[in-house]
């Protein structure tokens, strides 16, 4: 019976995906609409299961208060109605959040055998990855390179983006074994979060002391064809004791980005095995007492690079990221309706750090030793005027201070006029912000009005309003969202601004989402988006002066569609999604252009399909296949202005888990990533002469986990 259900659901999913795929072989919006209608009507024909048979005649008032209006919630209903904090100042469910939201659960991460955050976020519609420089891989969202300060990454509320450029290097880092949930905004978030959330927000929540109530140890080993990919140890412990909650988690490991051969645009090459280290060390302490909490995180990433900027280097150089984060927060509940939250954050980051002496033949690489600190005060007040009307507002101040360390103390600059710059040993900028959000729930439509205004001593003001209309009608939900977002120029963008001129870039985004709960165990959403980025901040290299700069270009953006389907049954779960983007008809950033192709940006495929499933066999054993299909991509692989065509890629993975092996709490996982040996490559999304960076070859992954629980106090 379970097998039949799985086959039926799989076949139905195939029909949805086929319809969408077919539609985009023709004009975009027209067929997208037809597909939307077809899907919604198809879903409408599926009979919902009712719970009229549920006996309530003898329930007490206390029991009735725990009862859902249509009976006991299914697992899927719990997921789609669970409150999230990522998309609104006041927590709301996925269906009611005024943003396009994805949620990835601990179970999905653990069962899939995800090796790192790239594996996890690759499963998110519209998310892609490309290579920057120096072996660093970063985000793209909806076909647009988002690595530098366009996607905000929060880990337990701490801003992970490094302050010099706004980047978040991705690879064998982040404690994937300790994550409780990831909440993702696939779209603008600046009206809440400010200048790093122009294209998206990734909110990673690790297990609290209460979630853990015990300890865990995970040992993960990954073996590529020539060398190991990772050997990591994760440990965590946590407990709730009266009003106290304490958690302590850590990760230490070693890894190699790849074991394949990197070939630069001039055919220079090196073997990445042993030359592309990716070694994380991380510790996270969380302590809370009632409404007051403290968080301290240490995160260090030791990378080695021989790919540098353009030509391969003669030896591996360091490229380290050492970060410290701290937060003190208090939720002052004035009464049941009014909460005031003061928050203080500090982060100190030394990113893109190399203190090695540069050999003469590697003059394209450079010594880099800078530390950037940010301290931030935030005061937020939330008032429930009535049950259906909430007003939240507040203010924020942060100070950025960056200083050059070591031998070279003139690593920053300030332009005196259009062409003459003055070297500086340190820079400091201040930012003031005010924000407000009104959430009004009524019978016609739920309305979210929000806005944020930032004023920086470096680049002036940025105002980003938004409006969201959300309607839930029984099994349906609809969202119509419009808003602005912005990217705050980071310290290095300002320091190397072309002719000293730099403005924040702004995006204008229109989104529509239709969602449908099908039966009690599955959920389908279809999202349409269109956004335009004005004055995008783009890196470029000027040959005449042999210098690198940032400047505002005219315009960028994309439009497209994303479909996501999830089903959760007693046999397991299936999550599948399809994403499409196009830049046709829009002004393309020149550095992102592909000669002769006018609907794509460099590096990112128009079509992407992801599937992640778990099928239970018995109480302890689970088979977990996952896959990502990416259509044709283009990138610069040689010293030629004509882009190279990269064939479609199908990354197929299989992971098996066995829980409670021999003893309670002991689990074994084993599997293979890139079963088909597709040898994925991270392509540079902007024209800056870096050849595609090979990803790992076929990798066999083994994981041994042990979890124990304390008796609840």
């Amino acid at each position: 019976m379970n097998c039949l259900s799985f086959v039926y659901l799989y076949a139905r999913q195939r029909i949805y995906l086929f319809m969408l795929f077919f539609s985009f072989t023709h004009s975009f919006m027209k067929h997208c609409l037809l597909s939307s209608l077809f899907i919604l009507f198809l879903c409408s024909s599926v009979q919902a299961q009712h719970t009229d048979t549920l006996s309530i005649e003898n329930l007490s008032l206390e029991e009735l208060l725990k009862l859902r209006s249509t009976g006991v919630s299914s697992e899927m209903e719990k997921i789609i109605n669970e409150k999230l904090g990522v998309a609104s100042k006041k927590p709301l469910s996925i269906r009611k959040s005024p943003s396009i939201v994805s949620v990835i659960s601990e179970d999905e991460i653990r069962k899939s055998g995800a090796r790192d955050l790239v594996d996890v976020l690759r499963q998110v519609p519209g998310f892609d990855f490309g290579v920057d420089v120096q072996g660093v891989v970063g985000f793209a969202v909806r076909g647009n390179w988002s690595h530098e300060g366009k996607v905000l990454v929060l880990l337990d509320g701490q801003e992970m983006n490094e302050t010099l450029y706004g980047t978040v290097p991705l690879g064998n880092n982040f404690p994937v074994q300790q994550i409780k949930r990831i909440e993702i905004i696939r779209g603008p978030g600046s009206a809440i979060y400010g200048g790093y959330a122009e294209y998206g927000v990734v909110n990673i929540i690790t297990k609290s002391g209460e979630d853990l109530n015990g300890g865990s140890l995970d040992v993960v080993y990954g073996q590529m064809e020539k060398t190991f990919a990772r050997r990591n140890v994760y440990a965590s412990w946590g407990r709730k004791m009266g009003g106290w909650k304490v958690s302590l988690a850590g990760l230490i490991g070693q890894g190699n980005r790849s074991d394949r051969t990197y070939t630069d645009i001039d055919t220079g090459s090196f073997d990445m095995a042993g030359n592309s280290q990716f070694n994380p060390s991380y510790a996270n302490l969380g302590v809370s007492y009632r409404n007051t909490s403290v968080r301290i995180i240490y995160d260090r990433l030791h990378l080695t690079t021989r790919d540098g900027y353009v030509a391969v280097l003669s030896k591996p150089y360091d490229n380290n990221f050492t970060n410290y984060y701290a937060e003190l927060r208090h939720d002052w509940k004035v009464n049941d309706k009014f909460i005031i939250t003061p928050r203080f954050n500090f982060k100190s980051q030394t990113g893109w750090n190399n203190q090695q002496t540069i050999l003469l033949e590697d003059s394209s690489y450079s010594y880099n030793n800078k530390t950037a600190n940010r301290y931030r005060f935030n005061l937020t007040a939330s008032y429930d005027i009535t049950h259906n009307l909430n007003l939240t507002g507040g203010g924020e101040f942060f100070n950025d201070y960056a200083v050059a360390r070591g031998a070279d103390t003139t690593l920053f600059q300030k332009y005196v006029n259009d062409s003459v710059s003055q070297p500086l040993a340190s820079v400091s900028y201040q930012n003031y912000a005010a924000f407000v959000q009104c959430l009004w729930r009524n019978r016609v439509v739920n309305i979210t009005l929000g806005a944020r205004y930032d004023n920086s001593s470096a680049f002036g003001g940025a105002f980003v309003p938004r409006i969201g209309l959300v309607k839930n009608v029984q099994k349906f939900n609809f969202k119509l969202l419009f808003g602005y977002s912005f990217r705050a120029p980071a310290i290095e963008n300002i320091s190397t601004a072309y002719r000293g001129q730099m403005r924040p870039e702004r995006s204008r985004t229109l989104e529509f989402e239709a969602g449908r709960q099908i039966g009690r165990n599955s959920y389908l959403t279809l999202s349409l988006f269109s956004f335009t980025t004005l004055n995008p901040i783009i890196y470029f290299y000027e040959e005449v002066t042999d210098r690198e700069f940032y400047r505002n270009r005219e315009q960028g953006g994309s439009r497209g569609v994303e479909v996501e389907y999830k089903v959760k049954q007693t046999w397991g779960y299936l999550s599948a999604n399809y994403a499409f983007y196009s830049v046709a008809g829009q002004t393309i950033v020149p550095e992102y252009q592909i000669g002769g192709i006018n609907n794509l940006n460099l590096a990112f495929p128009a079509h992407k399909i992801n599937v992640n499933a778990a099928y239970r066999l018995g109480d302890h054993f689970s088979i977990n296949p996952s896959a990502s299909f990416m259509s044709v991509r283009y990138g610069l692989a040689t010293n030629d202005t004509v882009a190279t065509r990269f064939n479609p890629v199908l990354l197929l993975n299989l992971f098996l888990t066995y829980d409670h092996l021999l003893t309670e709490g002991l689990s074994l996982g084993a599997g293979c990533y890139d079963v088909l040996g597709q040898n994925f490559q991270f392509i540079q999304p902007y024209n800056s002469l870096h050849a595609p960076l090979p990803g790992p070859s076929r990798e066999f992954v083994f994981r041994l986990s042990y979890r124990f629980q304390h008796t609840k106090l």
Binding site: L40, S69, H387
Partner: protein
């Protein structure tokens, strides 16, 4: 084209828009029946039967009839009585009067006409609490669509009824 597409999409699903998310009448009925255990009516105000009147929402009348069966409230057999929207005088003999969905517009005239009567007024509309209604049932969309109730203690006591502290404790804050 884009605007047209969105408009058509909205229109295509407009029948769904016309249906608001409503309380489950069986659960509402059970709540109302349970309230009788936490409220005390003056002894002299009760007749031979304990009358629960329902304005609007025939489904709620049916649901209540199924729930009450042969049960009693305040030691009396329960009678569920539909109340016509134009017959406010019929509501005077009720111990509980429920304003079902769609009858919110009648609340003001009913509460004014029934002032001084020992009647617990219950509604499914939040604004009812500000119009002198004692208990408001809501569907809490923020809490997995559970049914909750909010309570106007002053309004209940003004009607000469005693409300237990445990009922106040179980109610949702306004």
């Amino acid at each position: 084209m884009k605007k047209g597409a969105l408009l058509i999409l909205f229109l295509a699903i407009s029948p769904a828009f016309l249906q608001a998310q409503e309380l489950d009448s069986r659960i509402t009925s059970m709540f109302v029946f349970n309230f009788t255990k936490y409220i005390e009516w003056p002894a002299g105000s009760l007749g031979e039967k304990f009358i629960i009147g329902v304005v609007g929402n025939p489904g709620l009348t049916t649901g209540l009839n199924k729930i009450v069966g042969s049960r009693t409230a305040a030691g009396k057999p329960i009678l569920v009585k539909p109340i016509d929207k134009n017959a406010v005088q019929d509501a005077g003999s009720c111990q509980i009067l429920i304003f079902g969905s769609g009858s919110a517009g009648l609340m003001k005239s009913f509460t004014e006409a029934l002032q001084g009567k020992h009647i617990l007024l219950v509604t499914e509309k939040e604004a009812g609490l500000r119009k002198g209604v004692g208990i408001n049932l809501i569907l809490d969309e923020d809490d997995d669509f559970k049914t909750k109730f909010m309570l106007n203690k002053t309004a209940i006591e003004t009607a000469g009824l005693k409300v237990s502290s445990s009922l106040v404790g179980l109610s949702k804050q306004q």
